[in-house]
């Protein structure tokens, strides 16, 4: 049957079709939908879990594979850092049942801390990596990757990028799936990592690399297409951008598509080099294919110029697109003008959604519109001419905390409680990173999962004159917050932990976590209680409050701030996106004095200015009441008086 499937859904269904029986993972954009799809599309015969973090997830998958099952573990690229400890060992130990480590990279980056490239990780770990260029290819690659994994008794990495993970394609999918039976764990010394075994296994890994270079040279998804004299080497989504960019000019090019960046298919690459006069490489993130070609040429003593990121011809950061590739080809080889500008110049959009990602970095500067082109002189004071031939400047729309988000109330309470006092606010990874934006400005640091807790301790060690806060979400608390808390208690750190408990993993789309008492399959399980954990760890000051109870929230923070040692406050209120919203509130226009305190201090997206007064967007407001509480004229209420 043909279905419109997202790349991640295709990976999930491909795995089910290939007989996977254990799937684990931790949510992270752009990888999250794989686990959700496995959970949704399976009749209960496949075990699937949201693990507490990526390390746990990878170890669960490895264990299943030791016992002979086909297993898959999913994560985003920075999640692989968390899972790198087991990954860098299971490569030496090997597997029995096929094991896929599915990692989603994020060029841009659009929703990530970094532009980390998993292909490097594969090479570093000496694990074969398959790179998906489209959702339909991802579907096909999963089965092949399982076969390779079993044949060579190694975990393999299946890697994709945001535009593959999150784009949809019509795909013919298998209707039936059946988990491959596992024979169970069979005791053998080979499962115990020891120096002597690692020495021997490293020799095997090196031999396998050489062998796979040849094997992959005849792998069907590594291919050379075309007969033109200009060579383009590419992989992943760039393969499809290249196809768009050279449409109508295909005869000028020979394309080398690399589906296995490691081990690099060298024999096939040599064939490609021998057929062309010049080579340019298009790949996102790091120059992995490019470097492999340069390495190959050096090894063979050949002189051949490879253009790409190393030569400055291709941008070294950010996403590529058909337009970027077309423009580079036109400029370098004068072959064509690929994308004639339409009659409307690209003043506000460079043609890529990844601009939204850059908004994340620039959103503390509310005046900047990262979509705007600085060459364009827009005079905002000019009298509005309704028939102007200049396009009116669209408003900046960086992502913001949702209307009714409890994080806004929590940040606001802490901000008010600490007004005039010296304090540092260490943030973490989650929706609440958006608390860095104006007008809250409540995230002074953000590094990686759980880091806020320990960074706050370090800041305190260097300068103990400030009250050092760490904000952590509930899912992040479980994923990697707890070790940092024990560290604080053990080492007698002075810090205030604020757990922003919204009873879900919100940013990635509301996945359950250990605190919720429910599994990915919807089964009821024991809820792990954050307050009890904190107390069991030895925290003496632990308070739980509802952040929308403004006065109490402020009082609790003030109390915590005045104490010494490790203090914890749990702000508990469900994510606005998962609770049924209350009635929208209204501004009583006649009473509103236009002080705009609500907007200036809260920055809620449901609020805006109209005719100098505050206005509430009825479709966005969920009636959380925070603005009505801080309004000095008390003119925000439930009745639409003069609308």
């Amino acid at each position: 049957m043909k279905e419109l499937l997202m790349g991640n859904e295709a990976v999930a269904l491909g795995a089910l079709a290939a007989g996977v029986s254990v799937v684990s993972g931790y949510p992270g954009t752009p990888s999250t939908e794989v686990i959700e799809t496995v959970a949704k599309r399976n009749d209960g015969s496949v075990y699937v879990e949201w693990s507490v973090n990526e390390k746990a997830a990878l170890e669960v998958a490895a264990g299943a594979s030791y016992a002979g099952a086909r297993s898959m573990v999913t994560m985003k690229q920075v999640g692989l850092n968390v899972a790198s400890d087991p990954l860098m060992c299971v490569n030496y130990i090997g597997v029995k049942g096929g094991m896929i480590v599915y990692v989603a990279d994020d060029p841009g980056p659009i929703s990530s801390q970094t532009e980390q490239d998993t292909r490097h990780f594969a090479k570093y770990a000496k694990i074969p990596v398959f790179d998906c260029s489209s959702p339909e290819e991802a579907y096909e690659l999963v089965g092949k990757a399982f076969d390779f994994s079993e044949k060579y008794e190694t975990p393999v990495i299946l890697r994709s990028t945001t535009r593959v993970c999150h784009s949809c394609a019509s795909i013919e999918v298998s209707e039936s799936f059946k988990p491959k039976p596992a024979e169970g764990f069979i005791k053998d010394g080979k499962w115990v990592i020891f120096p002597r075994l690692s020495y021997l296994n490293k020799i095997k890994l090196e031999k396998r690399e050489t062998e796979l270079k040849d094997v992959f040279s005849s792998f069907t998804l590594n291919e050379i297409k075309g007969k033109g004299k200009i060579g383009i080497a590419c992989g992943g989504i760039c393969f499809s951008y290249v196809a768009d960019a050279i449409a109508g000019n295909e005869d000028k090019f020979t394309i080398f598509k690399v589906a296995t960046p490691y081990p690099f298919p060298e024999r096939l690459a040599e064939k490609f080099i021998s057929r062309v006069d010049k080579i340019i490489v298009f790949e996102e993130l790091d120059p992995v294919i490019e470097d492999s070609l340069i390495y190959l040429l050096g090894k063979k003593g050949m002189s051949f110029e490879i253009r790409g990121k190393r030569t400055g011809d291709v941008p070294c950061a950010g996403e590529l697109s058909a337009k970027i590739i077309g423009d580079i080809l036109s400029e370098k080889y004068g072959t064509m003008t690929v994308f004639e500008n339409s009659s409307f110049s690209s003043r506000y959009n460079s043609g890529s959604v990844s601009n939204l990602g850059s908004d994340l970095q620039s959103n503390s500067n509310s005046n900047s519109n990262s979509n705007s082109n600085s060459n364009f002189n827009f005079n905002s004071d000019s009298k509005a001419d309704l028939h102007s031939s200049f396009p009116p400047k669209p408003p900046a729309r960086p992502p913001v905390l949702c209307a009714g988000c409890p994080h806004r109330a929590s940040f606001y309470a802490v901000k008010k409680a600490m007004a005039g006092k010296k304090a540092v606010f260490c943030g973490d990874i989650g929706c609440y990173t958006l608390g860095n934006a104006a007008p809250l400005n409540m995230v002074d640091t953000c590094l990686c999962m759980g880091a806020g807790i320990t960074v706050a301790q370090g800041i305190g060690r260097a300068d103990d004159s400030s009250v050092n806060f760490a904000f952590v979400g509930d899912s992040t608390f479980f994923a990697s917050g707890m070790t940092g808390i024990v560290n604080a208690i053990y080492n007698k750190s002075n810090m205030v932990l604020v757990v922003l408990d919204n009873s879900t993993t919100a940013m990635t789309g509301h996945q359950p976590h250990p605190g919720m008492g429910i599994t990915v399959m919807g089964d009821v399980t024991q809820a792990v209680d954050i307050e009890k954990i904190l107390r069991a760890m030895g925290a003496e000051f632990v308070r739980t409050a509802n952040p929308f109870d403004y006065e109490t929230a402020v009082a609790v923070i003030k109390e915590a701030a005045d104490k010494k040692g490790f203090r914890a406050v749990i702000f508990k209120a469900p994510c606005a996106a998962i609770v049924k919203s209350k009635k929208s509130l209204f501004v009583k226009k006649n009473d509103c004095i236009g002080c705009l305190k609500c907007i200036r201090e809260l920055g809620c997206p449901a609020l805006s200015v109209k005719d100098g007064k505050a206005m509430i967007d009825r479709d966005l407001c969920v009636g959380c009441g925070l603005c009505s509480r801080i309004c000095p004229k008390k003119c925000i209420g439930e009745e639409a008086i003069d609308e």
């Binding site: 419109l4 954009t29 659009i110 929703s111 535009r163 999150h166 784009s167 949809c168 394609a169 019509s170 989504i237 951008y241 196809a243 768009d244 960019a245 449409a247 058909a322 077309g326 690929v338 994308f339 500008n341 339409s342 409307f344 690209s346 506000y348 959009n349 043609g351 959604v353 939204l356 908004d359 994340l360 959103n363 509310s366 905002s380 509005a384 309704l386 102007s388 031939s389 200049f390 396009p391 009116p392 669209p394 408003p395 900046a396 729309r397 960086p398 992502p399 949702c402 934006a437 104006a438 007008p439 940013m507 907007i599 920055g603 997206p605 609020l607 805006s608 200015v609 109209k610 479709d619």
Partner: protein
């Protein structure tokens, strides 16, 4: 129609609309690709969905100047994405603004009428749906996505008949909202004289 760009603000329902278009074309035996903004970037931010259909479709992203149709859920988002439109392309838009809290803060002025007027004056094939009328008719704006799809079909630019579109809507929306969505489709289709 081969390339259709949908744009708006996170939460307006562009993703469902793009899936409806893609599945309608799949019913006609064509290959379809879509690409949507998902994740952190969608929190109140500008969002776009690309829909590409045809015998073959290389990449999921529409290159600039190649969109046959832009369906804009918000006037300033239509302006922001106009460079995607090909010459003689069509724009179907909702004229109701969504104000951005960040620009409220910075004192940036946004008058949606300017955006609508600009598009009407530069794009020959431009059809505007009145957001106020949608709200008066349905009581809220959640149906806007299907209204705009109906309008796009009515304009002829979508390349789907009313029946083809309706069949796809029936498949994609929850049964309890089906009647309302059928009315929304009819409203959109008829409001631009389709």
């Amino acid at each position: 129609m081969n390339n259709c760009l949908l744009c708006g603000v996170g939460g307006q329902g562009t993703v469902l609309a793009s899936r409806i278009i893609a599945s309608a074309f799949m019913e006609k035996g064509l290959f379809a690709r879509t690409a949507e903004t998902i994740g952190m970037a969608q929190r109140g931010g500008s969002v776009v969905s690309h829909v590409r259909v045809g015998k073959t479709v290389p990449s999921p992203m529409i290159p600039p100047g190649k969109a046959d149709l832009i369906i804009a859920f918000e006037p300033s988002e239509a302006v922001r994405n106009l460079s995607f439109l090909r010459k003689d392309g069509t724009v179907v838009l909702c004229d109701r603004p969504i104000y951005a809290v960040m620009s409220s803060l910075s004192g940036e002025k946004y008058d949606a009428r300017e955006s609508v007027a600009y598009i009407k004056s530069t794009i020959e094939r431009c059809y505007a749906i009145s957001g106020d009328e949608v709200e008066r008719t349905f009581g809220f704006m959640k149906v806007l996505n299907v209204v705009l799809l109906g309008a796009s079909a009515g304009s002829g630019a979508l390349g789907l008949t009313r029946a083809e579109l309706e069949a796809a809507v029936v498949k994609k929306v929850k049964p309890e909202f089906l009647e309302m969505n059928k009315r929304a489709l009819a409203f959109g289709f008829e409001s631009i004289g389709g």
